[in-house]
Amino acid sequence: MNKLIGFQSNSRLRMAEFLPWILALLVFFVLPDYLSLGAQILTYILFALSLDLITGYAGVVTLGHAAFFGVGAYTCGILSAKLGITDPVVLLLCSAVVCALLGFGTGLIVLRTQKLTQLMLTLAIAALCYEIANKATPITGGADGLTGVVIGPVLGLFKFDFLNKTAYLWCLAILFVFWYVIRRLIYSPFGITLTGIKENKQRMQAIGVPVNGYLLKAYTFAAVVAGVAGALITQTNQFVGLNVIGFEPSGEILVMLILGGVGRIYGAFVGPLVYLVAQDYLAKQFPEYWNLGIGMMLLIVVLFAKGGVLGIVDKLKLYWRGKE
């Protein structure tokens, strides 16, 4: 079993934690044709990380996390296409601020509830955001998507190129920053308090913890991270479609996280990688049936490997240790 992080846990980086970064840099040099997919995967990893923080650690159930991802994406897109703001850093900050407000506002409502009610509320909020994006055609482009997004060079130096080299490294840099922050958060007393809330909310109240205050902070921060991920996808694609907002991407990101492993940071890395690579491969091989492959993959994980792909890795490690 994946041991919970507690007050005694050692937060020092382990060797295996360098692996994703080494791998990501390798991809950049070895697989230059896949940088577009790569940038997308990095963005979804960031999105999944934010979901892991709120669901895997704090225990908030949500089927509407893409509300933030989508609003982040649209904020970035609209500011660029309609108002001519093109600086990628400024755009990220704007998306972050908008999503912080949205996360705080919806958090006030969502976090008062629990379980199924909470799930339904988050779903409703995501559906609302979707409908707004769908109907406000003059601003969002509606079903046709938002075109005319122009992104300037990063820090005025690195132009977004059609091979997506800049986009890939830009996404990687932002992911790295947020990974570091989230990792610190999870090993901090605040993070362990969130775990406590997930484990036993009632007892947390009885030991003097103002549970909703803590959850609201975490929820707002997760919204910011999801919003930044959304802004990154807009910057990479220079286009915003309805597929970034609403129920579908909310469900998708949850599937990715479950696939990788919930409540362990690196599940959020493995899940999107496996899911999006499989999707890419299956869509090329079986353009009409790729969903079937994803579905079967999830079925296998849920039935036989509750901890996701990383859960399987844990079991293999135990098995090897037992052999020695």
């Binding site: 507690g6 007050f7 005694q8 406590g196 030991i207 003097g208 913890v209």
Partner: protein, 249 residues
């Protein structure tokens, strides 16, 4: 001395059902007080009214002389009111150490810290170990709680609430579900509790009540039937009636 816990006319109705009926109660500093009563007398309801889990239909709760009727559960904890649960309410997947540290961390204001690593707070660890030591479970500090025997889990339950440095501690049937061979451990732990904490114990086990308490309140059908020293209660005819039935019938 002002009582550390007081209620005035505390009542709770669920529809037509009255589960707490005009309860006037007070707890002196450092008291060892027991609340007894037959099943369904409303003991746990009374505890939930005190802690803020339930809001009263009418009446007032004062903690350390301060009106707490409108305060939330966590705010009352900060005034100095701790409790344990009749049925264990622990953090089952966490270690004994972490179970106890969570509350201490909140009290010391450490829980809000988002950047520093949790294991850097040595004072937190020391305080946690002190409490585990006091209750005799320091050897199990690094065990996962769900893997401990039930008797020890009951001690963790008490340890968590001690971590809050309560001035008033409500023990809701501390020995409930503990096999009789282990109940001695619980009593030993209760004896070790700091004298300056006022304790209100709700308990069915009369042996435990009479060994532990210096004052007893009897609750029947949501109302206080009588209050007194263990001797007075043992002799009280009404109490006998409630527990053993009317001898004339």
């Amino acid at each position: 001395m002002t009582p550390v816990l007081q209620t005035f006319g505390l009542s709770k109705q669920f529809g037509a059902l009255t589960v707490a009926d005009q309860i006037d109660f007070q707890l002196e500093p450092g008291a060892r007080h027991a609340l007894i009563g037959p099943n369904g007398a409303g003991k746990t309801t009374f505890v939930n009214l005190l802690t803020g889990r339930l809001t009263p239909s009418s009446g007032q709760v004062k903690i350390i002389g301060q009106d707490a009727t409108q305060l939330s559960e966590s705010e009352r904890v900060k005034l100095g009111l701790g409790r344990t649960f009749q049925i264990n309410s622990l953090f089952n997947k966490m270690t004994v150490m972490d179970n106890v540290s969570l509350g201490i961390s909140e009290r010391l204001g450490i829980s809000k810290k988002m950047w520093r690593t949790a294991n850097a707070f040595k004072n937190l660890q020391e305080e946690t170990l002190e409490i585990l030591d006091l209750l005799g479970i320091a050897d199990d500090a690094n065990e996962i709680v769900s893997q401990l025997p039930y008797g020890k889990q009951r001690l963790v339950e008490i340890a968590i609430s001690l971590g809050l440095k309560p001035k008033v501690l409500l023990l809701d049937e501390p020995a409930a579900g503990v096999p009789s061979m282990e109940s001695g451990r619980i009593l030993k732990a209760l004896d070790a509790l700091p004298q300056d904490i006022a304790i209100l114990m709700i308990e069915h086990d009369m042996d435990l009540v009479f060994q532990f308490a210096s004052r007893i309140t009897v609750l029947v059908q949501g109302a206080v039937l009588c209050e007194g020293t263990p001797d007075e209660i043992a002799k009280d005819k009404r109490v006998h009636q409630v527990y053993l039935g009317d001898p004339d019938e």
